[in-house]
Amino acid sequence: MVSDIINVENLVKVYPGGTRAVDGISFSVRESEFFGFLGPNGAGKSTTIQVLTTLLKKTSGSVTVAGYDVDTDAREIRKVIGVQRQETILDGDLTGRENLTIQGHLQRLHGTALKKRVDELLALVELSDVADKRAAQYSGGMKKRLDLASTLVHKPRLLFLDEPTSGLDPQSRVAIWEHLETLNSDEGVTVFLTTQQMEEADRLCHRLSILDHGEIVVSGSPVELKHQLGGDTITMSFANSDSGIKDRSKRIVNGIQGVTKVLDVETGLAAYAKNASALVPDIVRLFDENEIRLTSISVASASLDDVFLQHTGRRIRSEELSKVDTWKHYM
């Protein structure tokens, strides 16, 4: 039997001020799975992580991590998890090496084994050269890498990473992705990751839940989720933004053969179709005939953002849209 390393049932977290940050979510993560929480700002991702990592008391529901109850066996949980918070947390007065060493000590490691492990991690996050400089003097990205390394000192079975690559340059980001993939595939480390980046979730996660307003909107593997959309995305925006135009346009696009779904988006409409690129000339012609002025039309392969859009009616972040095959000001 494959056991669940994380099991969450009806988790609710209401902050003292009354904010219902997590509103009855249930999910489970299997041993050695790479699991993701994808959601916009304020969705409740960090709150969930804090409850799972024994930092925050839940309001109700049941949570077990590594087979232990968060309320009664927090101590046991802390021995097997590694946690990287969303904010980079280091002791700026200590050097990079000392930061890793103190984390090792807090995990009750010592001696040459710890020394070796620290050197290994410094090399891994490419900080060996600056290992004896104070962390306060590191750049933001270096701090983030050191922080990640400090969560790995004791070789945790289960890693919680709260937006581990936000603020990193593309090169560092890819390096960290590769390392996380190796940890997961070679050493069987279970990873629970939160992100706002579709690309990250898409690449890393075996399975993910999309979170919005404290609730899980949909769960599944990236492929499954995108598959449900039925194809690529065609995004259109219009010169005239009144709702009458939008409704008419929607009817027109809906009538085109091959279109599986049309959704309202802030900037106009999004349509889904298998052979999206081939439909663009038809769409443009039909709008032309109906005297609707398009300002842009673009085609992109369906992304997790589209999944999010489909379930919430909003995009996580508009700038995350991949801009493939764009015909700006086509008309």
């Binding site: 930092l55 008391k57 802390r78 946690v83 918070r85 200590l94 000590h105 807090l106 995990q107 009750r108």
Partner: protein
């Protein structure tokens, strides 16, 4: 405490020590204040010693006891500041997701802060000795004087930590010198004999743990093993320390969740 807890205290003490050593202003303050106080107070107030009714031995002999306990009173703010820093930087929460023994986080810090009390106390004694001050109770007395300073320092650190953990505010801890430290310092027997204090100040001094600590040190320096004064001081400091450190530990549990 089990073995793991001692291990934790030790490593967190080392961390606190490194942080202290790497903060020049703390080192400078700790080394310079005893000198400054001793020179300043004894220069300014030295004529006091000639007033009728002033304890025998002169002002320097008298004030040294006050200055020895003044350093822990002032240095205690660093304990509160350190806790607030760890809370606000998130480092505390980073420690709390590890199996580290919870009280060890406080005691590692307190161990460092105790050493930071013993150093200026030692400097003050040495300097005072050079100025002709004597310790009537000898080597054992000196040990007890250092112990008194450290014990009092612990209770004061407890106070600033409790306030730091509760308010999580660096400003509040920084403001403690005006609200708590200066009143304790001036309305006490540190720099002025009890008999010279006005009645209201005597009343305050009677409940001021700082005065008790000063009186014990002064007795050890000038009178002898006056156990009633010394034990009274230890009793008062013990109660004060139990309350402040207890409050810190209690508050600490709520930071955790």
């Amino acid at each position: 405490m089990d073995h793991d807890a001692l291990f934790d205290v030790w490593h967190l003490f080392i961390r606190a020590g490194k942080k202290t050593i790497r903060t020049p202003v703390i080192i400078f303050g700790t080394l310079a204040l005893p000198v400054l106080f001793l020179v300043l107070f004894t220069q300014i107030f030295t004529q006091f010693g000639n007033l009728p009714g002033f304890p025998a031995g002169g002002y320097v002999q008298f004030a040294t006891a006050g200055i020895i306990v003044l350093n822990p009173l002032i240095n205690a703010q660093y304990s509160g500041t350190a806790v607030v820093d760890d809370i606000n930087s998130g480092f505390l929460s980073k420690m709390l997701v590890t199996p580290v023994n919870r009280p060890a986080i406080l005691f590692g810090r307190l161990l460092n802060d105790t050493i930071m009390v013993l150093i200026p106390a030692g400097i003050t004694l040495a300097l005072a000795y050079a100025l002709g001050v004597t310790v009537i109770t000898g080597a054992l007395g000196i040990l007890l004087i250092l112990f008194t300073a450290a014990f009092f320092g612990l209770s004061m650190s407890g106070l600033t930590m409790a306030i730091g953990v509760t308010t999580k505010s660096a400003q509040v801890v920084a403001g403690l010198d005006l609200v708590i430290i200066f009143p304790l310092m001036f309305v006490s027997t540190a720099l002025v004999p009890y008999e010279f204090l006005p009645h209201w100040a005597q009343a305050f001094s009677n409940v001021n743990p700082f005065s008790y600590a000063v009186n014990a040190v002064r007795a050890l320096m000038s009178t002898g093993f006056d156990w009633s004064t010394i034990l009274a001081a230890y009793a008062v400091i013990a109660v004060f320390a139990a309350v402040t450190i207890g409050a810190t530990l209690y508050q600490f549990r709520s930071v955790e969740k």
